[in-house]
Structures are given as C-alpha cells and as structure tokens.
C-alpha cells in the first residue's frame, strides 16, 4: 500500500496514480461467478458474435469495480469513497490492457468532511475512454 494521502496533498487538476488491469477471459468468468451475471456475451464467443458483437466483451460493472479499486487504493486506509458514477460508452475486450485513471476536479470542506471530487475513466490501448465517470471521496486532513 502506498502511503496515506491527505487533503492538503491534493490540488485541483492533479492526476491520481493509475491502475492497470490485464483483463483476461478467465477474469470475466471469475466476475460472472462472483457477480452472478451469466449473460453469455461475456464468455461465449459464438453467442457474442451471433448477437452482432465482434467477440466477448468486458462486463461494464467489472470496469466500474476497477474504478472503485482505483479510488479505494488512492484514498487509503483513512479515506472513504462516497460516490462513484460510471457511464458505459463503449465496449472493451479481454486481452487488451485497461488503465484506470482519475483527475481531481474540485476540493472543498463540507460539514467538517474534507471532500475531493474527481473525474475517473478507463482507457484502452487506443486511448479510448469507454467507461468515463465521476467520483466523490473524503480524505483525512493534517489540520
């Protein structure tokens, strides 16, 4: 675990450490088992192609969960993730590396909590952001 980040360390516009994920078909099967989402477009290539897709695709909610991990890694043991919002704009495929990224858009103190707002997204090897979103976290303060 990286060392704890504090509210005072954060500036608007700064990027947070990214999280790289090598998504494999095996991981899609593990996600299907853990989440209970057995829709065949995520593990049966023939089925996926019959519905008009180029192949099996990564579950949108697996991508959202990766973004959750990006945030919980960043806020550390003394911070909390308060809100995560993700839109599924495009498809991602197993075998391609996915990088989860985030950028601070705003910081403010509200009801005694040190709140940081972020823009978050996943990026495929072509640089496409197929799962963009936003987040709100609370960080500890040195004050």
């Amino acid at each position: 675990m990286a060392k704890q980040v504090y509210y005072e360390d954060v500036e608007e516009g700064m990027e947070i450490p990214s999280l790289a994920k090598d998504v494999t078909t095996q991981q899609l099967v593990k996600w299907a088992g853990a989440s209970g989402d057995y829709y065949q477009i995520h593990y049966d290539k023939d089925f996926a192609q019959a519905t008009g897709l180029p192949g099996v695709i990564v579950h949108g909610r697996l991508k959202s969960s990766f973004l959750g991990q990006l945030l919980s890694d960043w806020v550390g043991e003394e911070g909390t993730v308060k809100k995560v919002s993700v839109q599924h704009r495009g498809m991602d495929f197993p075998g391609e590396q996915m990088t989860c990224k985030g950028k601070v858009t705003k910081k403010h103190v509200q009801d005694g909590e040190h709140i940081v707002e972020l823009e978050i997204w996943t990026e495929n090897p072509k640089g496409e952001r197929n799962a963009p979103g936003s987040a709100v976290v609370a960080l500890p303060s040195r004050g």
Partner: protein, 151 residues
C-alpha cells in the same frame, strides 16, 4: 425495428417498488469479490490489518454493490423491455455507511425513470432503477441508480 412502443403506458410504471429482499454480508463473499477483480487490499480481507484502519475492521470494497446478483438488485419492471437487445448503460453508487461482514442488508428497488432517445441504431429506451440497501440497525447504507439501455 418497427416495434410499437407506448412510452406513456410504460411511464405509468415509474415508482413501482420491488418486494424487499435481505442479504447477509459474509467475509467469504467479500473475499470472492476481491479475488474476482484482483484487488489485494488487506482492508477487505485481513482482520488484524483492517482493525487499525479507519473503519476498525474488515469492510466491503465499493465495487461489491456493483456485483448485482451477489448483493441483490431491485429492478422492478412490470413490462417486458420492448426491444430485443439490452445493454448495461452504467450506474451511480452512493455510500453512506461502511458495509461489514455480518451485516444483514435489506435491498429495495424502485423503477426510477424511463426515457426515450433517438440513437445511431434507432430508438433507445433508458430504463433507470433505484436500489437502496439498509442495514440491521435501520441505517441507509447505500443507494444506487442503474441504467439499462434497451434498443
């Protein structure tokens, strides 16, 4: 797709609530989830370690509530989606209290909104459902809005 869609008829269903269900949060469930997304954070698995952190014990990672069937999902839909294909359009999860092993959560769903939009592939319906999770102490733990795209 010459499907006749009666949006007004479907919109009448907005506000329909599902029968609440309960789920018990277990350490094994949290571990299985963390393993599936390959998240090694000790806060989700290591009691000794988690004790010293902010929440004072193992908690669920934010993604757990995104694993729909694992944590229950209220998506009451008193009609069949009129178009042939469904995509998960995304969602929004708001967390109010930590979720801990041993918690018994009541899951309630509500049909929140239905919108229609003309897309590249013709008419698309955006069906939004709200899910809330309340713990055994009666505290609202989290709220989510999930969007299904029917096209």
């Amino acid at each position: 797709m010459a499907e006749q869609i009666n949006l007004d008829e479907m919109k009448k269903a907005i506000g329909t609530q599902s029968e609440p269900s309960t789920i018990e949060i277990e350490k094994g469930m949290i571990r299985k989830f963390a393993e599936a997304i390959e998240d090694p954070n000790p806060l989700w698995q290591d009691e000794q370690h988690a004790k010293k952190a902010r929440h004072g014990g193992i908690v669920a990672p934010p993604g757990l509530l995104m694993a729909v069937m694992m944590v229950g999902q209220g998506s009451p839909m008193p009609f069949r989606p009129p178009m042939p294909r469904i995509l998960d359009g995304g969602g929004e999860w708001e967390y109010f209290k930590p979720i801990r092993p041993g918690d018994v959560l009541t899951v309630a769903g509500k049909l929140f909104d239905i919108r229609e939009r003309e897309g590249r592939m013709g008419k698309m319906l955006f069906i939004v459902s709200e899910t809330t999770w309340t713990n055994q102490k009666g505290e609202l733990v989290a709220r989510a809005l999930g969007t299904l795209i029917n096209y």
